[in-house]
């Protein structure tokens, strides 16, 4: 094996190594394309998940602890407080580390609940057709056009304060406004699958409806399902942050949105207290970026044309692919460059 090669394209043809077939093509296709986007997205997401679990334990101080009763302004970063202190003289770094748990938890609950809802409604609508389809589609369209944030603000406005800090409840409420897009996509795909021959034959040999849905249709929906799950988690992150920023979630319930709420209360952007809003805002943005990059990877998996998009001559050469110089310098209409691990032989 070539040491240090970052790609297995064309580099694995060692002289004395037998050519190992790459397994059945069906299996190979299940792998996500290993584009930098996907890898960065996966790594980022993993880091945030770890942070959500261990964050509160590795925080240097108790995030609620007040360090000074005399200082009346947020203190800039120092050796004792690496990211400075808040208006209430609490340690920003500790709040940042501990606040991730709530944000990630709410987003995951929202993503899970919304995905379950969208599968139940979308697949049922697509498979059942007729009147149930019309009604369910109408329900989904209704939730699609309703502006979500104002609706959530009204709901949270009336939520008793005691329940304003229950992460699972918050996630579930956010899910109510976030399932419709996934349901619409899943319905469309189910519609296209239900008339295919293999589903038809399953029906003819007398398989039950739930079995056809569960074993014939659902496995083919997994990429779309994953994409819609990530999309909803991303939506959950943004929405929860927005609600907390507005002070609709109990502000003493530590989250990144809540930190931004206190930054706004302290007038951070007007007074240059950047350490109050950049760390939590950046954390939310990076978490969102990881999710979106991973989603790009899944999009490229579903639609291979998007994948070929990144193949320039320079990139192919950097990957050590033979024949890279024969690739067009720039994308040419009507030509889709395809990489083969074995360069095609020239006819003599």
């Amino acid at each position: 094996m070539a040491v240090g090669s970052s790609t297995d394209l064309g580099a694995t043809q060692g002289a004395d190594l037998p050519l190992i077939p790459e397994g059945p093509p069906g299996r190979a296709r299940l792998r996500l394309p290993r584009s930098p986007k996907t890898l960065i997205g996966l790594a980022g997401l993993a880091a945030f998940l770890v942070l959500a679990v261990i964050g509160p334990w590795i925080a240097p101080y108790n995030p609620a602890q007040t360090f000074s009763t005399t200082a009346s302004f947020p203190q800039p970063p120092s050796a004792a407080h690496l990211l400075g202190t808040t208006q209430q003289q609490q340690d920003v770094l500790s709040q940042l580390l501990a606040g991730g748990r709530s944000t990630v938890l709410v987003a995951l609950v929202a993503g899970l609940a919304a995905t379950v809802l969208s599968v139940v409604i979308g697949v049922t609508a697509g498979y059942a057709a007729g009147l149930p389809d019309d009604l369910l589609s109408m329900l989904a369209n209704f939730f699609l056009v309703m502006p979500a944030l104002p609706l959530l603000i009204v709901i949270f406005g009336f939520l008793p304060q005691s329940q304003g800090s229950d992460d699972v409840l918050i996630g579930a409420i956010i899910a109510i406004t976030g399932w419709a897009f996934g349901a619409r996509v899943l319905r469309a795909q189910t519609l296209s699958l239900r008339n295919r021959d293999y589903v038809e034959s399953a029906r003819i040999i007398g398989e039950r409806g739930w079995r056809i849905i569960g074993f014939e249709i659902l496995p083919n929906l997994i990429p779309i399902l994953a994409s819609s799950f990530l999309f909803t988690v991303l939506y959950g992150v943004g929405t929860y942050t927005a609600l907390a920023f507005l002070g609709l979630v109990n502000p003493n319930h530590l989250s990144w949105g809540g930190m931004l709420f206190y930054a706004q209360v302290a007038g951070a952007e007007q007074s240059g207290y950047w350490w109050l809003f950049i760390p939590p805002g950046l954390a939310v943005a990076l978490l969102g970026t990881s999710l979106a990059l991973l989603n790009f990877g899944i999009d490229e998996f579903i639609n291979p044309r998007l994948r070929a998009a990144g193949l320039s001559r320079r990139r192919a050469r950097r990957a050590g692919i033979e024949g890279a110089d024969r690739l067009p310098r720039r994308f040419v209409l009507g030509v889709t460059p395809v990489i083969r691990s074995v360069p095609p032989r020239r006819p003599r």
């Binding site: 944030l149 970026t289 979106a292 790009f296 998009a309």
Partner: protein, 326 residues
Amino acid sequence: MYVISRRIGFYILTAIAAVTVDFFIPRVMPGNPVNAVLAKMQSTVVTPATLHALEVEFGSGTREGIWGQYLHYWYNILHGNLGISTSNGMVPVTTVIRGALPWTLGLVGTATVISFILGTLLGILVAWRRGSWLDTLLPATTFFQAAPYFFLAFLAIDLFAIKLGWFPAGSARNTLDFPALDWTYISDVLDHAILPALTIVVASAAGWIVGMRNVMITTMDEDYVLVAQAKGLPRRRVIWYAARNAILPSIAGFSLAIGFVVSGALLTEIVFSYPGLGFILLSAVQEADYALLQGIFLVITMAVLLANLAADFVYVFLDPRTRREA
């Protein structure tokens, strides 16, 4: 036309549903809404007039059944009566909203149009030049899309208003200015609008870029585009053929996007203290002014529905296939 009338029917049903949701939310929440509101109104003095306004709002002072209250609610809405705003000196909610609505419409409307046009053009460019350095633009725009709008607003104020001093840091106009149709006033309003509008454009253009690029790449593989190229048409014409077909899903997806843009813009307004709907929304939340909260929800929903309807009209006009369906 069949398609159009179907869509109008759908939006009317959605509007009815929105009013119904608005009516039922305070009533299905656990506990007495009047008490819940009073518990959140710690900072304000509760006068008998406030109490009365709340009881009328939630129907707890009347002996009408829930159905009667619902009809009454409709009667009020159809007569333009959205209740009394308790946080603004007991003026009608409609008066408060009327003062704020033009600012939001101006800001969000302009920013959305700019961001749609800019994002679509960039999407076409990125798709056409795929494989070039422009592809690196995508992860960058993703960051702006994933960041909360109001975080970008924080950054914009800190950098452009405070550190560089190019733009005012908040509000929509100088308080000393007298509203008039002269250049001083207009330039002042524009000066105040640039930074919030820029924030909204930067945050929302990413979605259009990615959407347009993905459809455009798929469209460029269609045979008719290849034929156009093979015929030796100028490159500009070929791009135009592909682009005008690729733009259809973007317009169809407008309805999904507009909700995000409006939500984000409301939060941007809050950071900029821009006196639009978002700003009074925040004060409604803080002062527990629920009549105002529900009123804003209704007005935003209706505005979004109208925008959707307009997008549908455009779509039917652009895509003959939707017309043939009838």
